[in-house]
Subunit: 229 residues, 2 copies
Amino acid sequence: MNKAVVLLSGGLDSSTCLAIAQSKGFEVAALTVDYGQRHHAEIESADRVVAALGVTEHKTVKVDLSSIGGSALTDAIDVPKDRDEAEMADEIPITYVPARNTIMLSVALGYAEVIEADSIYIGVNAVDYSGYPDCRPEFVEAFQTLANLATKRAVEGQMIRIESPLLMLKKTEIIEWGLRLGLDYGLTHSCYDPTADGRACGRCDACLIRSAAFEELGQVDPVLEHLSR
Amino acid sequence: MNKAVVLLSGGLDSSTCLAIAQSKGFEVAALTVDYGQRHHAEIESADRVVAALGVTEHKTVKVDLSSIGGSALTDAIDVPKDRDEAEMADEIPITYVPARNTIMLSVALGYAEVIEADSIYIGVNAVDYSGYPDCRPEFVEAFQTLANLATKRAVEGQMIRIESPLLMLKKTEIIEWGLRLGLDYGLTHSCYDPTADGRACGRCDACLIRSAAFEELGQVDPVLEHLSR
């Protein structure tokens, strides 16, 4: 059985990615990078998703990006709220974490090499991507080129493929794919600014993007049900 | 004054790199990645080099690669000793840390973006490189391509240059350059398997490569003087 490392934040996209990798027949090793997020709701969510999907191998690797700062997700900077689509599209937001996907893919590359996985799944998405530069197809392609040169396995002729199945999908298409695979999105967590008890705020960009997609599908985002009660 | 992030392990190559970046007129921010090395002599050496060269900005970022394993430098695997040149050249050694340079450059990229540095210096060397795949020119070029796509600064037209001035130099040439710049190599630490009090073993690949180079220059490697007394 071929192995795949799946980068799992516990959010909607990466959880869908994990379900997809399983559906392709891979034995999945989930990798969560704890990069010093201000809140831990995401990481707890990753644990829930892994348990629900029966994944037995799950590593959490700490990378202390909070010592570098530069983002509302690792620093004491306010997360923007209630922005409309035009505002979100306008510029790269303060929730951007410098070089985050580069760092996460690099750690995944090392892990894939150690466990002899031949694929790495990452749930990047260029459509509803909030303007992050490291969610674009050309970024993923450049990382693939790098991966082919960077490792001992590659030198020995064993390439590690970077798989980004969500890259060109709309958020609604991602959710539909996950639902078809039986994924319970109530387990996932995407919010940038959760309440003290770990619930989604419903107002940050991440909450707004996913709830709009569920609405388009005629559903209520299960992680926001507490707000409509 | 332009800023440069210098990846500093505290070894011979990275310390020389720091002196070179200073000599080019950069304001240097040193970055040490603590990736769960079995010993801390390297990191203490980085502190000494930074102090000696008057660098005021020095971050140490923890990336827990020991949880991934796969290397004699992070795992409980013996470091090879007393190998001759042919043995060293034969294959990629067990001291290879999967994806290490990719991970360190990624963290440096994030740091460079935050502090608005326009260059990253890394002391990789393709000549006496112990067979590591991530020390080759094509690896550095691929990372440059990735860096040009990965960051907010790049999207805004501010490229971050990856500088690897030691890439094509012999170890003797590296040492000569550092000596011209007044670097005290007694402050550096390259050994893979130091004694309990942090002294170089003189027998691992890293010790053998640097001591042979000093010998070729008619000198004794200052970190090995304790062995010749």
